[in-house]
């Protein structure tokens, strides 16, 4: 008798607990669904303008203006792409973008690696002072240097010359690049370098044959961040370059779009061409890019 009452009480408790649990579960499901809806709305807001860009790059004006902005093109008009690539100077701009971006990335990585090597692997007292000197560069607004640079490059006859762009990109990317490399260099083991010195290797040999190869992963990250910055740079190229043959995609498409001010398909195709290399890099290397952007900023 007593036992029975007890089990009944127990099972009632158990039922109550189960009910509470399922109530909690429902509440949890509802809140998770709401969260996902919010996250998805943000996601659509972030990505839809680009999808729309690709859509109208494949339409002609009539389709752009008459169909819904969400409509797929009936027959994708790839000829928009062929037309903008073959007319005008898009291929020249593209080549210049590759040239300036590539040269500046190489120089920045080499100089930043050398400086970081001196700052972390060599033994001297003032290294933190010099690190500070490099890091203050992060705070300098480019506009505060623009007029003197323009003046200097004019005097040196480097306006409308690739060198003005490549050197400027290199200098302005050094601080962030050193910042990305610095943490990695600090935790590199010293044993290999020590062994090499004992074997009589010169400093250059240590740097080029031991340290530089060991830092390949962080170099890749830093190189991609540099590539994104340089590919998209606007102020310097817009100021130092006015001759069409030296323009990059970022400023070249500006005039180019002017010529096509009413042809939305051509404008869309031009914009897609200009952003495609970075998007492709992102699709294949997104983890490295994400790593680099957070490494370059969190430690600030």
């Amino acid at each position: 008798m007593r036992n029975e009452a007890l089990t009944e009480k127990q099972s009632a408790l158990a039922r109550q607990k189960a009910a509470e649990q399922s109530k909690g579960k429902i509440r949890h499901t509802i809140s998770m669904t709401l969260l996902y809806i919010v996250l998805a709305i943000v996601g659509v807001f972030q990505i839809f303008p680009l999808v729309w860009l690709v859509l109208f790059s494949l339409k002609n004006n009539q389709e752009v203006f008459e169909l819904s902005p969400f409509a797929l093109p009936a027959t994708p008009r790839w000829e928009n792409y062929i037309r903008v690539w073959t007319e005008g100077n898009i291929s020249q701009y593209f080549f210049n973008s590759v040239l300036y971006t590539g040269s500046a990335v190489l120089l920045t990585i080499l100089f930043a690696s050398m400086a970081t090597f001196a700052l972390t692997r060599m033994k001297w007292k003032k290294s933190s002072l010099f690190l500070g000197l490099f890091m203050v560069g992060l705070m300098i607004p480019v506009h505060s240097t623009l007029i003197p640079l323009f003046n200097t490059f004019s005097n040196l006859d480097l306006i409308n010359h690739p060198l003005s762009i490549i050197l400027t990109y290199t200098a302005f990317n050094l601080p962030i690049t050193i910042m990305i490399l610095y943490g990695f260099y600090q935790v590199l083991p010293r044993e290999v370098e020590e062994a090499a010195v004992i074997d009589g290797a010169s400093v250059h040999r240590i740097f080029f044959q031991i340290t530089l190869p060991m830092t390949a992963p962080v170099i890749a990250t830093a190189a991609i961040i540099n590539m994104i910055y340089n590919w998209n740079e606007f102020v310097f190229i817009n100021t130092f370059i006015s001759a069409d043959q030296f323009k990059t995609l970022t400023v070249g498409i500006q005039n180019f779009i002017g010529q096509y001010s009413t042809d939305w398909g051509a404008i869309g195709a031009t914009l897609v061409i200009s952003i495609l290399p970075i998007l492709i890099a992102f699709i294949f290397l997104s983890d490295r890019i994400v790593e680099g952007i957070s490494a370059g900023s969190v430690k600030g």
């Binding site: 303008p49 240097t145 020590e194 606007f234 994400v290």
Partner: protein, 298 residues
């Protein structure tokens, strides 16, 4: 022992240290540090960029103080800074959700980041199309839900500035979400677990444990957002060039116009120098105000 001495000698040679620092340091001095002093100096000159410079003392700087158009642009820059700093709250909320062990967080974080990868010129052109008065996607949508005369966003003096703020927020959202997400992921699991055992709600864990733990990162993002806003230029220059009638002018675009449209290089240099001083001052000020002795270590 002999090896150690050898190594110390090799790796502390002054000549070698100088050799390895020199290329980067010289470039930085020549193209960043010397120019900022030149800017201050040019600010003391009457100069059209091509002809002779005439020393006029502080005239450009006193003119700047009385230039209403400049203060309008400074006010717009300040508005952008406030707007950007406030949007950090939204980014922080999203990151707290994303870092809360939900499925697809990685994918969403990458989707959010995509606009950050695009050139400002492409973003500007894209958003000019979005805001296009008759064929843009925004007004097409507004008309389709029954709003008959939607505004011409970028041509409306009262709207242009805010219409430009939206793509700027769009552009940087993924950047800040990524920074917060990385910081939140660094918080040791054990801290959150023990709070859960003590019965803390998800809300309490977020605001009383996680946010204080990443306070240092939040301070960095406030500096980045405010200073970044004060020197912001690209989208505004391409989308409206400060117009209509100065309604979307910011400090950097005002400076650029003075130099490269009006060829008043002396006056533009004074603005450039002012911009530098203000950026360094505000960085210092924010750090000073937000630094506390009790910065939490974990």
């Amino acid at each position: 022992m002999k090896g150690m001495i050898q190594m110390d000698q090799a790796l502390s040679s002054k000549k070698m240290i100088a050799l390895y620092l020199a290329p980067g340091l010289l470039l930085l001095l020549a193209l960043v540090y010397i120019p900022i002093f030149q800017t201050g100096y040019f600010g003391l000159m009457d100069w059209n960029g091509i002809g002779e410079m005439t020393f006029i003392g502080l005239e450009n700087y006193t003119l700047l103080i009385r230039d209403a158009a400049f203060w309008d642009s400074a006010w717009h820059s300040l508005l952008l800074a406030v707007f950007s700093a406030l949007s950090l709250i939204g980014y922080l909320l999203i990151s707290l959700v994303l870092a809360g062990k939900i499925k697809g967080a990685n994918f969403l974080r990458k989707i959010y980041l995509v606009p950050m990868l695009l050139a400002s010129v492409a973003i500007a052109q894209l958003w000019m199309k979005i805001y296009h008065p008759t064929n843009g996607i925004l007004n097409t949508l507004l008309i389709s839900i029954g709003i008959e005369n939607p505004p011409a966003w970028l041509a409306e003096p009262s709207l242009a500035l805010f219409a430009i703020f939206i793509p700027i927020i769009w552009q940087y959202a993924g950047f800040y979400i990524l920074i917060y997400y990385a910081a939140l992921k660094n918080i040791p699991e054990s801290l959150v677990e023990s709070a859960k055992i003590d019965g803390a709600s998800a809300w309490d864990i977020a605001w009383k444990i996680k946010v204080p733990l990443i306070m240092n990162v939040i301070k960095v993002t406030i500096v980045l957002a405010v200073v970044g806003s004060l020197k912001y230029f690209d989208l505004i220059y391409v989308m409206t060039n400060g117009g209509p009638n100065g309604a979307s002018e910011v400090m950097a675009s005002y400076m650029y116009g003075q130099a490269f449209s009006r060829f008043d290089f002396g006056y533009a240099s004074a603005i450039g120098f002012f911009l530098l001083v203000i950026c360094l001052l505000i960085t210092w000020l924010i750090r000073k105000v937000t630094v506390s002795d009790e910065d939490i270590q974990y």
